[in-house]
Symmetry: C2
Subunit: 424 residues, 2 copies
């Protein structure tokens, strides 16, 4: 394949993670080793910013700060949830695609990297196909990222290990707290974690048990397993009888047998007359308090869990970085339309390498927990799951601290001069 000289554009999309910036660092650092890659640009807020020609010059950033992206959580380039939606908005999508290629041409972008989850891989795939169709020579790579761990083909997703590690520490600590307060009347704590469709995040908290059945979490409620009120309450009672307290983890997308999300009842109004959207954990808390007369509290980690750089997984950050490096190397090598994936090459000790997967196999496919990785009663992932997930949370990234708080990198974000008029 002939060498392709030109500029690189990298952007981030979808919900942030603790290690998505590590992947960007990998792309930038590897790209710097290839002479065919000239300027290195970042697109602000994913394709939404690119459509507005909001590009920054990443070669203008301090090398120290690029290295610092390896422990800085959230999306340093900004992110978006904007899609090229040819199904629902075909005209808008076609206009957007035209505009993207005007931008690519105007800035001689010949290497395009898009870090994100299912939707973002779909976007990268469409841009890859469009480039071929237009005869515009450009190498397009997806970079995997999602705390949800629901991308297919890859053993797991960068971002997943870190959210599991932080959530496990939280469950252990909440368990120590609730356990130390538990006297004979018992108490219960419900920890709600992210995961609307797939329960990978909730399931991961089983690692907090560290192999001891008495340790929290005692019950894990997955969106994949229909919630049964009576079975749940019976199990809480069993656990409290045994341990005097009970820690429940639930995925936010928990559903009943009819497929209705527990936390999505819009009929209730608050003091201001506005609808209350209490989450699944609030519904479970009220259930436990009212039916079992057990004191019950909730923890809703929300965004805190996916941005918790202060306790991110070192292996996760390394793998995320390696995915960025592999993407840049493959593109410089002449490849396009691919996404680096993590391949598990050994267990005990855990070994991994990076492979490459065609984007067409990734885009819009969701990957769920195998049913035989979950106990028959559906309340806990089993040893197969533990063997899978345990290696992903090992080690801590070493973010420096300043005045007692993590010292994260903020990029300078020097803008690249615009060459086109505003978006129509």
């Amino acid at each position: 394949m002939a060498e392709l000289n030109g500029n690189l554009l990298v952007a981030q999309s979808g919900g942030p993670t603790a290690v998505i910036n590590a992947s960007i660092a990998g792309v930038i650092q590897e790209a710097g080793h290839h002479e065919c890659i000239e300027e290195i640009y970042g697109g602000l807020n994913g394709i939404l910013g690119i459509l507005n020609e909001e590009l920054i010059d990443l070669n203008d950033e301090k090398a120290r700060n690029i290295e610092g992206l390896r422990y800085t959580p959230a999306a340093a380039l900004g992110t978006c949830r904007y899609k090229l939606d040819f199904k629902k908005k075909p005209e808008q999508a076609a206009r957007d695609m035209d505009r993207l290629f005007q931008i690519f041409e105007a800035h001689n972008i010949r290497y395009f990297f898009y870090a994100g989850g299912n939707d973002s891989q779909d976007t990268a795939h469409k841009i890859h196909l469009e480039a071929a169709k237009r005869g515009y020579e450009m190498r397009v790579m997806g970079v995997p990222k999602t705390i949800d761990n629901d991308l297919p083909c890859t053993d797991h997703c960068p971002g997943y290990g870190s959210v599991v590690k932080y959530n496990c520490a939280t469950v252990m600590e909440v368990g120590l707290d609730v356990g130390s307060m538990a006297t004979d009347d018992g108490s219960c704590c419900i920890v709600e974690v992210m995961g609307r469709a797939a329960g990978w995040i909730a399931a991961g908290t089983v690692l907090a048990k560290q192999g001891n059945a008495a340790n929290p979490p005692h019950i894990i409620l997955l969106p994949e397993i229909a919630f049964d009120t009576e079975k749940f309450l019976a199990r809480v009672q069993e656990v409290v009888a045994l341990n005097r307290y009970c820690v429940v983890v639930c995925g936010e997308g928990l559903k009943d047998a009819q497929g209705n999300e527990l936390g999505a009842d819009k009929s209730r109004l608050d003091a201001f007359g506005h609808p209350i959207l209490a989450g699944a954990s609030e519904v479970l808390k009220n259930l436990v308090q009212d039916r079992l007369k057990l004191k019950s509290r909730t923890v809703l980690l929300g965004y805190a869990q996916r941005a918790a750089g202060h306790f991110a997984s070192q292996i996760d950050a390394e793998e995320a970085h390696a995915c960025g490096v592999a993407a840049a190397r493959a593109a410089a090598d002449g490849k396009s339309g691919l996404m680096p994936k993590i391949v598990r090459t050994g267990s005990n000790p855990y070994k991994w390498t990076i492979g490459l997967e065609p984007l067409e196999n990734i885009a819009n496919v969701e990957h769920f927990i195998p049913r035989d990785w979950i106990s028959e009663d559906g309340f806990l992932p089993n040893d197969k799951f533990v063997e899978y997930a345990a290696p992903l949370i090992v080690g801590e990234t070493k973010a420096p601290t300043k005045d007692g708080l993590p010292h994260y990198v903020v990029l300078e974000k020097n803008k690249v001069e615009k060459k086109l008029g505003p978006r129509a």
Copy 2:
């Protein structure tokens, strides 16, 4: 003062913290240096367990584990919320007091240490007075502990620095997350933290700004300042116009001008027909979404914040340990009816020492944030507050990790043989 030979009993009370065990370690380790102190016992679950004669032998624990208490969060001896309530339940309280002294005598307890907040210092004070009244020679010391930071006389309370440190890291990380997702339509995140009466915990998150007005948190709502819907919404709009996103921290006990807690409306019912007690953050979220049409999410840290040993403050853990040491040393020295307090002897660099305060000055007194430490509009603590709080979060305790998770100590808890019949 004549040397008093006998056994020591230490117990914990009230809500756990990340460093209350460090105080217990201080008591145990210092007591070991004094020959007058013979056996060292722990009372399980505070006076509730002591009333049931549930004592454990702390000299039976491994020295390594006692040292490990310095980084292990929650109450290793168990805790309770049980009070000697002579006002509301005088007969029960009198029976309990009798029973306590039977236990003390049966086990020759001559040194009694009670670690906790306002209520617990009151309990310690009552036991101190009762011992004198009965002519039972015993040295009673309170040990300060509360994330709420609302004990009087002490510069601050062990446990406060750690909850502030963890909450600040969370606010920084949530801010990076929300900020990186913010495009021109803006978004808002409400982080609810503990603190029902005093706003010390919420106020502490101002340190996450690290002196930069643009940094989160942008608004801090304290229980001490009456909540005004219109002023709040106007401020959110201002912040979003300036920064494209807004992070709000609110204390759980946020109240309106009539003194009603925002999150305490019991009139709403969930899908099961049970009352919904959505917290202040849910009410604020719905308000921002409905009135300002701004996407809004909540984080409810709950118990996770006060048990977060994985990111506890080193200075806090050191001061907590020193309070335990000082209590044991003072008691061995013949003193009684006191509580060690933290005395600030220098700022810039921060210096501290431990003093002793009579329990009668501590019991049942609450300490609030001075009004002139808060901005005039009530939305942010000012430089006076920052100068006060900044030194309290410096450094991290060094909990070892195992398989990627904190490796906390669990005590053996070998029971001391009971000498009395069951509690009447």
